[in-house]
Amino acid sequence: MDIKGLSAIQKYAAARPATAVEDSPAQAMRAAATDFATTLAQTEQTAQTAMISDADPHALVTALAQTELAVETAVSVRNKMVEAYQEILRMPG
């Protein structure tokens, strides 16, 4: 193995701890999903109140914008994960 390859391996080994999550990946996913569900539930509540009564329009718009943010994030994550899964399926052999 030449010297350059060796230093690349060393750098990779050094960088690995930085990508580790504190809990297991499953728990991180669960926490993110709960957070997402909470945001959606709160927005739904605000939207219902706004439709029935004269609720604060600023709160409604903020809640909807937060939801839009959360949904966009979740969709992007889902797309990337599905893409990675499909890449692995495409492996020959």
Binding site: H58, A59, V61, T62, E72, T73, S76, N79
Partner: protein, 130 residues
């Protein structure tokens, strides 16, 4: 993402505060001719916390302006006293309209920031689309 959520929260608090300010201004303008009406002023307060906490703005307690009321001379008015004067309101339409214009500007600035925050976060998500 929490930085964007915080920005949205603060901006909406600013919008709400400016809307409340406009509401009190419109009350003042509508009651400019009501005898004995004192104009309402509302102070803005910021939520002081740790330096990293989100500093949302909120309206404080409504206060009545204590400057002297206008004395209007009209002996035929039902409320006129012995000298023929009655007390009007202490609302100056010029001040209220100027304040309303300022409130409008602040509201527009907050709207701009709201839009900007949404664009920035959408742009970030856009990176993953390719």
């Amino acid at each position: 993402m929490s930085a964007f959520s915080d920005a949205l929260e603060v901006t909406s608090s600013g919008l709400r505060a400016q809307a409340m300010r406009l509401r009190h201004l419109s009350e003042n303008i509508s009651n400019a001719d009501t005898p004995g009406y004192r104009r309402k002023t509302v102070p803005f307060e910021t939520a002081f916390g740790s330096r990293d906490a989100v500093a949302t703005v909120a309206t404080g307690r409504v206060q009545l302006d204590q400057t002297t009321l206008d004395r209007i001379h009209d002996p035929s008015h039902p409320l006129a006293d012995a000298s023929g004067h009655y007390e009007g309101s202490n609302v100056s339409l010029l001040i209220e309209l100027a304040d309303a214009r300022e409130a409008q500007r602040s509201y527009e600035a907050n709207l701009k920031i709201f839009e900007q925050t949404r664009k920035m976060s959408s742009g970030l998500m856009e990176l993953l689309r390719r």
